[in-house]
């Protein structure tokens, strides 16, 4: 298909359709309303269904039911709405249901604001909900990558029978960029038929029961170990990242994800013109985090800079990656304000000049 100029939210919606998702359940919230808007007109065209639920809690439980019947399903929301879905996401993980959830993050806490933010890093990677599960999380930095990752998310969700989240900020939702969909796209995983799905019992196979309740502790322990095996496999096989700039000899290595990484790349190119060598590691999966890649690039760089639209949530994973205490510098904007290339340039120069304060840890 030829390139089309698409808004991020529309590209995400179209990507879901292209991936064979014919059921969408959601509840409106800015800045992702164009996803349900797009799908409300698109789903009927492919014989699918768009349902505006009465709440986020209802949406995620509709996903639970439809995924349990073996369908590819998606919902999208923004930060406060994702919090409301958290319980249901845990149930999906417990019942091993492949669901795709898109979070176009907005600034918080509480109702916060509607402008771009990366405030939900902890929630996405560590604390989505109760019960010791993991959420595979993909963070696009462009509209094309958003479209690609949404399609991959469905394959990954089916393969691991686990919820997969695509996390973007308001720029990913609102920006327009050229997007191309590939008609001959193949699944990125070998996907067996969903024999586990509850599609109606005709005495031809064991009953398929979708459930996350295990009152026998021995049985639940077996289930937990089974889930752990999946999470271990994801950590082994699904880490995604990209590196940029002078990865073998950087004065400063930047760790940034999503659209913030693009801002940093502009800064890196400008700094290169001035002879300052900067590298970047961009996590594409936030969980599993690319610990090894960060460690390797950081080991060859003099200084480390984390840039985020949060108060420094990803710093924790960068510290874990390093294995030994090293100074980390940090730059952020909050509340829906954006980082500019000029700010990153100034920060890198301050680090080089020794005038940037390191992040302090107790």
């Amino acid at each position: 298909m030829a390139k089309k100029l698409m808004k991020g939210a529309e590209a995400i919606g179209e990507a879901a359709v292209q991936a064979g998702c014919h059921l969408f359940f959601g509840y409106p919230i800015t800045p992702q309303n164009e996803i349900p808007e797009y799908l409300s007109s698109r789903m009927p065209q492919v014989g699918g269904a768009f349902v505006q639920a009465e709440s986020e809690v209802a949406s995620i439980n509709m996903l639970y039911g439809a995924a349990g019947a073996g369908e590819r399903v998606m919902t999208s929301s923004s930060s406060p709405g994702i919090s409301l879905m958290a319980e249901g996401i845990s149930y999906c993980a417990g019942a091993e249901l492949p669901v795709v959830i898109v979070n176009i993050m907005r600034a918080g806490p509480g109702l916060g604001g509607i402008l771009p933010s990366q405030a939900d890093y902890f929630q996405t990677t560590k604390g989505m909900a109760h019960g010791d599960f993991r959420l595979l999380a993909l963070a696009p930095w462009s509209i094309q990558e958003a479209a690609d990752l949404v399609q991959d998310a469905f394959d990954l969700a089916d393969y691991y029978r686990n919820p997969v989240m695509v996390v973007g900020d308001g720029l990913i939702g609102q920006m327009m960029e050229p997007v191309e969909f590939y008609e001959d796209r193949q699944p990125i995983k070998e996907l067996p038929p969903k024999t586990w799905a509850s599609t109606g019992w005709k005495r031809d196979r064991p009953k398929a029961i979708i459930n996350s309740l295990f009152l026998d502790p021995a049985e639940l322990e077996r289930h937990n170990f089974h889930l752990k095996e999946k999470y271990d496999l994801m950590e082994r096989d699904e880490v995604r990242f990209a590196t940029y700039g002078a990865v073998d000899s950087a004065d400063v290595v930047i760790i940034a994800y999503g659209t913030v990484a693009r801002v940093c790349l502009s800064a890196i190119e400008a700094l290169e013109q001035e002879g300052i060598k900067v590298a970047m590691v961009r996590p594409i999966t936030l969980w599993p985090f690319p610990y090894k890649a960060v460690r390797e690039v950081a080991s060859k760089a003099k200084d480390i800079l984390v840039v985020e639209l949060s108060t420094g949530q990803m710093i924790e994973d960068v510290r874990l990656a390093l294995h030994r205490p090293r100074p980390i510098h940090f730059h952020c904007r909050l509340g829906g304000m954006l980082v500019s290339p000029e700010e990153v340039i100034d920060k890198v120069k301050a680090i080089k000049a020794g005038t940037s304060e390191e992040v302090q840890h107790a």
């Binding site: 390139k3 100029l5 800045p31 509607i114 402008l115 462009s142 308001g170 720029l171 609102q174 920006m175 327009m176 960029e177 050229p178 659209t259 693009r262 801002v263 790349l265 502009s266 190119e269 954006l338 500019s340 290339p341 000029e342």
Partner: protein
């Protein structure tokens, strides 16, 4: 090579539309492009703006603090973005609605009486097309051929307005071209 521009004006002036058309033309030219609208709580008739980046390589930051060009379609937009234009960059001022002059002398200022021109053409709603044409004429950011194609495509459902909008586009384009020619002549003398 990168061209970036912030287009700003009242809601309803068709600012977001010409931004999209510019980005689309750039894409058709084989360039990398991004279009980023200001979004947030706005009232009807409030200000709006968009940032368009057209580049030979993948677009880095879609947010531009100091753009190479600003198109100010009303006074609040001039006030907001006048100081941000990169030195040597372009500031297109819709002099039909903005009475004061620009205070800077380190940028290239183009007076575009967009509404007046559009009205004279009998197409008062075409002021945005005049402005788009002027930007393209002055900067050469995208090919006029692609912009024309985009105009035809955008108004395909209303064929009666295609020609008048193309006319407005060309008036603006000529104005932009003329500025580019005299500006370089001025520099030589």
């Amino acid at each position: 090579m990168q061209n970036d521009v912030i287009m700003a004006g009242f809601g309803g002036q068709g600012i977001l539309l010409i931004g999209k058309m510019l980005a689309y033309a750039g894409m058709q030219d084989g360039k990398e492009v991004s279009w980023l609208p200001s979004y947030g709580p706005e009232m009807r008739g409030g200000t709006c703006n968009c940032t368009v980046v057209i580049s030979d390589k993948p677009v880095g930051s879609p947010v531009i603090q100091n753009p190479g060009a600003v198109l100010a379609m009303n006074l609040p937009s001039l006030e907001k973005f006048e100081a941000d234009v990169r030195p040597g960059g372009y500031l297109l001022i819709n002099t039909s609605l903005i009475e004061r002059a620009c205070k800077r002398d380190d940028i290239r200022i183009i007076d575009v009486p967009a509404n007046t021109i559009a009205q004279d053409l009998g197409n008062p709603r075409g002021a945005n097309m005049v402005a788009l044409g002027a930007y393209v004429g002055a900067t050469g950011a995208v090919s006029m051929e692609q912009v024309e194609a985009v105009v035809r495509q955008t108004f395909a459902a209303k064929p009666s307005v295609i020609d008048v909008n193309l006319e407005a586009l060309h008036k603006g384009y000529d104005l932009g071209r003329e500025f580019a020619a005299t500006a370089s002549g001025g520099a030589a003398s």
